[in-house]
């Protein structure tokens, strides 16, 4: 449906699209699915080796009434099956696909509660949790600079995955039984990468060395979003959706690490041996602001009930999304790469209910999306740029299957 679901998310994906829609759950439901996103992105014809993002998603929801007010509570989980968290800090000059390079390989967990105080009004809220990384590395001992394999060094590593949370809210209004209007707010989150490294010891009995490095960076940032959308049953078996999502990209925090380095290597009494050059403290880096621009992303979708019987419904879906890149042209020393993209999606859903009384109702949804990145030449203002001009191009595809059970 081209992600046009703010007013029309009819399964546990409502936890993301619009938490208020969770109030439409009328019984205990469970969902289990798997998705696989493949990135085929290149810079000047050379594959950028962006890893696929794949993993399980699951959800549970239960419903009831509070007084006469229907409510529902749900949880949703995304569990990557390749890595549970991945971070990478690169120099700002190094070309990278800013929005795709290791961004989504993290555990996601969300809990949602929703109520329907009036027949035409639904309200929902939730909290989403992601994992962040902190770590420390200590190296002490003796480094033999003439025969490195004879060095005796001790290492200590201490790393934490800590949780960060951000809020989600949603409201849905049904002015008629054919029309629904939804509004959702998704809070911003940033995952910080905080690393400290310390190296201390003797250098080949010549002198001592002390090196301390502190690195702080934001390894992932998703800006706040406000999504407004409508769903309209244009015919008894046809529904169309239109969403507009305002994304506050201008608040994006540069992923470039801030470094603090301390280096102390006293010169040996006899001076440095021939061929040995002591390192010098790296020059502090001036971080260039990324200056992303806010964007409105339109989504449209259509769903058609190809088969509709009391015990079986087969739905066909299609959608489109246009995402204008929020990253300005990279004409200077930075190389945060992204291009505008067109995303097309198709899907099919099969819903069987009350076939066999002993078995739960089953709904199976298959979805496939294809995103075409608009081929873009990145041109540098300076002919002395060390990266130079290059071409960004590629496509993405994503496939997913979700099975829902109603008990």
């Amino acid at each position: 449906m081209g992600n046009a679901c703010v007013a029309d998310a009819r399964d546990l994906s409502a936890a993301y699209y619009n938490p208020s829609l969770m109030s439409e759950r009328k019984r205990f439901e469970a969902m289990l699915g798997y998705s696989y996103a493949s990135h085929h992105l290149s810079l000047s014809g050379r594959d950028s080796n962006i890893e696929p993002v794949r993993g399980f998603h699951a959800g549970l929801a239960t419903a009831g009434t509070f007084g006469k007010v229907p409510f529902a509570f749900g949880v949703a989980l995304h569990l990557p099956d390749e890595r549970i968290s991945r971070v990478r800090a690169l120099r700002q000059e190094e070309p990278r696909w800013e929005l795709f390079d290791s961004r989504n390989q993290r555990i996601y967990f969300a809990s949602t509660v929703a109520v329907a105080p009036l027949p035409w009004l639904e309200l929902g809220a939730g909290l989403a949790f992601m994992s962040s990384t902190r770590g420390r590395v200590d190296i002490t001992g003796n480094a033999n600079i003439f025969n490195t394999s004879s060095s005796t060094l001790r290492h200590e590593v201490d790393a934490d995955l800590t949780a960060v949370r951000y809020p989600q809210f949603g409201v849905l209004v049904r002015p008629t039984n054919k029309v629904a209007l939804g509004l959702a707010y998704r809070g911003a989150f940033q995952l910080e990468l905080d690393l400290k490294a310390r190296l201390q010891g003797d250098l080949g009995k010549l002198t001592t060395a002390y090196y301390a490095l502190e690195s702080y960076s934001v390894s992932a940032f998703l800006p706040a979003q406000i999504a407004f959308g409508g769903s309209w049953a244009v015919a008894p078996r046809v529904r169309t959706n239109l969403d507009l999502t305002y994304i506050f990209w201008s608040s994006y925090v540069s992923p470039v690490p801030k470094l603090a380095v301390e280096l102390d290597i006293p010169t040996p009494k006899e001076g440095w041996p021939v061929g040995i050059e002591p390192p010098t403290t790296p020059t502090p880096v001036t971080i260039v602001p990324i200056r992303m621009r806010d964007r409105i992303v339109p989504h449209i979708g259509v769903e058609f009930d190809a088969v509709s019987t009391p015990t079986f419904v087969l739905q066909l879906r299609a959608g489109y999304e246009y995402a204008l890149t929020p990253i300005p042209p990279q004409r200077g020393i930075t190389n945060f790469v992204d291009t505008t993209r067109h995303t097309f999606s198709i899907g099919v859903g099969a819903n069987a209910k009350d076939w066999i009384p002993e078995l739960p109702d089953v709904k199976v949804d298959l979805v496939g999306t294809y995103s075409a990145m608009v081929t873009t030449t990145i041109r540098k203002d300076s002919a002395a740029d060390l990266v130079g001009n290059y071409v960004a191009a590629g496509h993405l595809w994503n496939m997913g299957v979700t099975t829902s059970f109603g008990f």
Binding site: A30, L32, E82, E358, S382, A383, A384, D385, N389
Partner: protein
């Protein structure tokens, strides 16, 4: 009854796969201009980062070109029995030249015989018409030609140019083919100017039209340097079809040398320097020469080598991208 099936569904969540090692990041786009790092042990025979070194020959002023088999011909000035000559060595990987500290019983071949005149700088240029050897002495810039690059002992053509107000004697030079003509870059008084070769004459090109005087294409104050010498210029094309002139040079500040990089779009106008050096070794680098090779670039230059007995000029090499690990050096090749 229906809820009894729930544990079965939850167990299905356990069917996950294990992660694998990340693939290394591919080489990012690069203009092939560095930053360079020194070649490391296992990347050269002998002592890294030297590719041509001898206390007797004192190799200096390197230049290089690919032959028809894709091998690198490395040329350098050498001192032979007290006189200056130009020699040539060969390597399939751009690193394993005979003439390093390992004695294999073979020395680089002489392509310009020793003579009493002192050679300040030399550069070999390969073009569709053949090979040309430009040499700078204290009073002349000469050019000799060859069909195969293996010998330049024919008659020399002396090139001349009119004086400018800012350049005294020429200390070093670089040569490039650009738009069907030969451009010669002359360095003197810490600045670099551009000329067009017309027969035996080098005609100055003013990078700023309308000025009464010929201006340098790279002034003394470039990047973090106060003095520039030793230009090497190549012309390439950007991915979107723009001509790009690249100049590598030696910059000096307070007696410390570094390799600088400057560029310009097209074939005319002043060069824009990159603010930072692309190579620095604290060994009085001179005469950088960059060769595009094997999806990267090799930097040859001469610098002081201290072997604990004496200090003498040697040819060292660097590579870009700097985070690329090169394969172990290849066996020696001979013609």
């Amino acid at each position: 009854m229906r809820l009894k099936l729930l544990p079965v569904l939850l167990l299905a969540c356990a069917c996950s796969t294990l992660g694998s090692e990340s693939e290394p990041r591919p080489l990012p786009p690069s203009s092939g201009a560095g930053p360079f790092r020194k070649l490391a042990a296992d990347e050269v025979p002998g002592v890294a980062p030297y590719v041509l070194n001898s206390p007797e020959a004192k190799y200096r002023s390197p230049s290089a070109a690919l032959d028809t088999q894709g091998r690198v011909s490395l040329y350098a000035i050498a001192t032979i029995e007290g006189q200056d000559a130009v020699v040539r060595s060969l390597a399939s990987d751009g690193r394993s030249f005979y003439g390093t500290s390992i004695d294999i019983g073979r020395k680089p071949a002489v392509v310009l015989a020793p003579s009493a005149r002192r050679l300040l700088s030399a550069e070999v240029v390969k073009s569709a018409a053949g090979w040309s050897l430009y040499t700078l002495t204290e009073d002349a810039l000469e050019v000799r030609t060859s069909q195969d690059g293996k010998g330049f002992d024919g008659p020399a053509m002396r090139l001349f140019w009119s004086p400018t107000s800012w350049m005294g004697g020429v200390e070093s030079f670089g040569v490039a083919e650009m738009g069907g003509e030969v451009r010669v870059y002359l360095a003197g008084n810490c600045q670099i100017g551009e000329t067009r070769r017309v027969g035996e004459e080098l005609v100055w090109i003013d990078p700023v039209s309308g000025t009464p005087e010929i201006e340098p294409v790279l002034p003394a104050k470039s990047g973090e340097f106060d003095c520039v010498i030793d230009p090497q210029v190549t012309v390439t094309e950007t991915v979107d079809g723009q001509a790009l002139s690249k100049m590598f040079y030696i910059g000096k500040t307070n007696g410390v040398h570094g390799v600088g990089f400057a560029g310009r779009f097209g074939s005319d106008g002043a060069f824009v320097p990159n603010p930072l050096p692309v190579f620095r070794s604290k060994a009085l680098e001179r005469e950088p020469f960059v060769l595009s090779f094997d999806a990267g670039a090799l930097l040859y230059l001469d610098l002081d080598r201290n072997d604990n007995k004496e200090i003498y000029r040697s040819i060292a090499a660097g590579t870009a991208p700097a985070d690329r690990t090169l394969p172990v050096y290849a066996p020696y090749v001979v013609d």
